[in-house]
């Protein structure tokens, strides 16, 4: 006769938690839902996790009926809590969950936030070229059409341009000095990140040189903006078309500026950040924040405190469907 034994509650709970967690992680990866929490780089690690948990569950089976007087269950909550939170309703983060801050194209890549030698570059024509470099040059560029009067809040552009409040420039040149630029040029990071190789011009779609148009597909949002911020000059005057949610924030942007942005995740959901190119339009007030739009505009290169960046002078804004998913630059 087989020995009848009582169920070991501890082993049962441990096994149960492992099986459920394993299944849940595998499901998240299989359905691509893990991308709401971590980047695609984690995929193999998550499969590994699911496999290990399954092995543990199997290894625990023989002890399922091993008698033990004192059993515990509190430690199982270290899996039960993540399981509960994964299963219980919560929405993926969108822009309204994030305090406003955003990364201009290239800030993640560092490349665009500095000019080649750290010196202010001459303005591309126009009256702005002769204006004093007081941080308002970009506005002057457009002064023939529009009036810009608001002062830039002193802290806003510090964030992007690494100027501190005393106007002293932080020493970014270190990165140059130590060969950062050259390495960028050698495409070390690009090969890895986007796999578009040496003749990168051909790799991005949507470029129509004859019509001077760039139609950015949702899949290439990051790559295109990174390209434009890294080397804006060839594309000045091009008509650009892109889709994003409307980001406008008086703390970060001028009243006539908004960003059609997408969310970028570089490590995990904790560092989610809106990312995009500043667009200028006098009708910004009519745009609803966080709504999805497709924007068309003309690329102009502007300059803030010596750092050049492309912006789009908007010609058309139309409502668009929401683009699912985040951008994973690395």
């Amino acid at each position: 006769m087989v020995k009848l034994r009582t169920l070991n509650a501890q082993v049962f709970l441990e096994t149960l938690c492992c099986v459920v967690f394993s299944g849940l992680v595998a499901y998240l990866v299989w359905r691509g839902r893990y991308l709401y929490y971590v980047t695609p780089r984690m995929k193999p690690y998550l499969y590994f996790t699911a496999a290990v948990m399954l092995i543990w569950a199997c290894a625990g089976l023989p002890r399922l009926f091993a008698p033990r007087n004192r059993t515990r269950s509190a430690h199982c909550f270290s899996l039960a809590v993540p399981i509960l939170l994964l299963v219980l309703p919560h929405s993926s983060l969108n822009t309204s969950d994030l305090s406003y801050n955003f990364a201009r194209g290239g800030i993640l890549g560092l490349s665009s936030s500095q000019s080649a030698n750290g010196e202010p570059l001459p303005m591309p024509g126009g009256p702005g070229a002769s204006m004093p470099d007081d941080g308002d040059i970009a506005r002057v560029l457009a002064s023939s059409e529009e009036e810009f009067y608001a002062e830039i809040p002193s802290n806003v552009y510090d964030y992007f341009t690494s100027m501190d409040e005393t106007g002293q420039e932080l020493d970014l040149s270190l990165y140059d000095e130590w060969g950062f630029e050259e390495d960028i040029d050698s495409d070390v990071s690009y090969d890895l990140a986007y796999d578009y190789g040496d003749d990168s011009d051909d790799a991005l779609s949507g470029l129509d040189v004859a019509a001077k148009r760039i139609t950015i597909s949702d899949d290439e949002f990051y790559q295109w903006l990174d390209r434009l911020f890294f080397d804006p000059d060839p594309y000045e005057g091009y008509v650009i078309r892109m889709t994003g949610f409307v980001l406008k924030d008086p703390k970060l942007l001028e009243p006539d500026e908004f960003v059609p942005a997408r969310l970028v995740m570089s490590c995990c959901v904790a560092d989610l950040l809106p990312f995009g190119m500043i667009c200028r339009s006098e009708y910004v007030g009519e745009l609803q924040a966080d709504s999805w739009v497709t924007v068309e505009g003309v690329i102009r290169i502007t300059e803030e405190n010596g750092y050049r960046e492309p912006q789009a002078w908007v010609t058309e804004v139309v409502p668009a469907d929401e683009v699912e998913g985040y951008i994973y630059p690395f």
Partner: protein
């Protein structure tokens, strides 16, 4: 006992710990005067059991019979129980036999319908526990770990410290065990007869309650502007990132525990501290682990007798210097070899200095939570089969050890992650710190604080560090890269599962001061 099985009360404890004395004290009291009791002794010590009221019968089984003829014990017990109706059975268990053998007897088909184990008590002589635990094998740990409560016997000659130490040891082996003084009969009585709740029921109720309170609280919190959705997302994000690496860590740790011979480590490990540290750095370089993984390894290295300064050097340097981290730093900073070299160099230097600090100032006091018990055994509750010879047996033990360590560390890990995600969601956007205007020291402090709060996995923190690079001087970014993997909220919490609070605080302070000084000095020299 009509309608149910006879309750079996088991008294465990090492030889001469006072088990028979406890039985004499308890069963001759008025509470037990009216019922008939069978006392089965598996050990005969200096004191004999004697019943004043004549309501207890006793039967003695020598250890030899337990070892060679367990069937005979079952037969005799069954015979006794058939003869007469008992209300309670009390067993004085042998101090050197694993409880699984008692289960084999009580759960034998001839007995399990008649009686069932109700409570297990463990009798401890406070002054003798520590040497016993260090000196004796797994049976004692097995008995302590399976007991519902402990009866701590002390005498006037025992100092209060020894009593506290005994209680600490008992709790290390059996967290949450009830402790009774040998003379507090009310405590003992309550421990014997209080209702025992099923873990399954408790766990299910708590789980459902948690789910319901989450569902109920979510709308309320959201209405009041608490970003609960963000907290949940950030929590899950960091958890999904940390768990795989913790899994790697506990398996490496279990491998060291199960497959590496302590004597081999003592024989082969470099004798001098310097060589040991070099070996630690080399080991860190070879193991593709991040900070989540290095903590369990650190613990098992210490248990295998690796000197503390060397183990600390490993703990502090491995998350910074291993190939995965080096590669991810290389790519994140666009192939900038100086950043990579700076990170590795400063990480190794800081780790070595922190190790040396502990070599110079470190007392001999135990930093492992369980003290003596930790040094001789893992806490995985697998004492009864402590050293299986077969490979498959060891493999099973390997997974079991890894799993147990995972569960104990993961509890602290998720608490740490939860705190981190609360701070990140509540404290505004941590990425909006502006480094401008502040001096290098201040921006370094800000970046190190950010690293501490963010609790990023060291395998991917370089990417985030790079996004700071345009707002902070390179020295501050470097401080983030060096200090973050050494110590952050999640590491701080995770160390709590195996180490004393004072050690963790010392280690954190040392990590902060040393890495700060190292990066600051280096930055000044190279002009960052």
């Amino acid at each position: 006992m009509p309608g149910g099985r006879i309750p079996v009360f088991v008294v465990t404890g090492f030889l001469d710990s006072g088990k028979t004395t406890l039985l004499n004290d308890l069963l001759n009291r008025g509470d037990w005067g009216e019922i008939s009791i069978l006392v089965a002794q598996f050990e005969s010590g200096e004191v004999d059991f004697h019943s004043k009221n004549g309501n207890c019968e006793n039967i003695v089984f020598p250890k030899k019979m337990l070892d060679t003829q367990p069937e005979e014990i079952v037969r005799r017990l069954a015979e006794r129980l058939a003869d007469r109706e008992y209300d309670e059975i009390w067993i004085e268990w042998n101090g050197v036999a694993a409880l699984s053998r008692l289960y084999d007897i009580v759960l034998h088909r001839d007995l399990r319908k008649i009686c069932e184990i109700s409570r297990i008590a463990h009798v401890v002589d406070a002054g003798r526990l520590e040497p016993l635990i260090s000196g004796s094998g797994g049976a004692l740990l097995d008995q302590i770990g399976n007991s519902d409560f402990a009866v701590v016997r002390d005498s006037p000659r025992i100092k209060e410290d020894a009593r506290l130490e005994a209680v600490r040891l008992l709790r290390a082996v059996n967290p949450g065990i009830r402790i009774c003084g040998a003379n507090s009969y009310n405590d003992i009585h309550r421990s014997l007869f209080r209702k025992k709740r099923s873990q399954l029921v408790v766990f299910s109720i708590l789980t459902v309650l948690m789910a319901l309170s989450y569902l109920a609280a979510k709308p309320l919190l959201e209405a009041n502007g608490v970003p609960i959705n963000k907290v949940v997302n950030v929590f899950l994000g960091i958890t999904l990132q940390a768990v795989p690496f913790l899994l790697i860590g506990v398996h490496l740790s279990a491998a060291i525990e199960i497959f590496v011979d302590k004597a081999a480590i003592e024989r082969r490990f470099p004798k001098t501290v310097g060589a040991g540290m070099a070996a630690a750095v080399a080991a860190g370089f070879c193991l593709p682990v991040c900070d989540c993984a290095s903590i369990p390894i650190f613990r098992s290295l210490l248990r295998k007798g690796v000197p503390l300064p060397v183990a600390i050097t490993f703990l502090m340097s491995a998350p910074v210097t291993n190939p995965v981290v080096i590669l991810s730093t290389y790519y994140a900073f666009g192939g900038n070899l100086r950043i990579v070299a700076g990170r590795v160099f400063l990480g190794v230097v800081s780790a070595a200095v922190i190790g040396l600090l502990f070599a110079l100032g470190g007392g001999k006091s135990s930093i492992l939570k369980g003290g003596a018990f930790e040094r001789i055994s893992c806490s995985c509750g697998c004492w009864e089969d402590a050293a299986p010879a077969s490979f498959s047996g060891r493999l099973g033990l390997f997974f079991r050890h890894a799993q147990t360590e995972f569960f104990s560390a993961a509890g602290y890990l998720i608490v740490g992650i939860f705190i981190s995600s609360l701070l990140q969601s509540a404290g505004g956007d941590i990425f909006s710190f502006t480094g401008g205007g502040a001096g290098l020291a201040a921006s370094m402090a800000v970046m190190m604080a950010a690293g501490f709060v963010l609790s990023l996995c060291s395998s991917s923190d370089a990417v985030v560090a790079r996004s700071f690079a345009s707002q902070f001087p390179a020295g501050a970014v470097m401080a983030f890269l060096v200090f973050g993997p050494m110590m952050d909220i999640k590491n701080f919490m995770m160390l709590s599962y195996g180490f004393t609070r004072s050690f963790i605080l010392k280690l954190s302070a040392a990590a902060f001061l040393v890495s700060f000084s190292a990066v600051f000095a280096f930055s000044s020299i190279v002009g960052w």
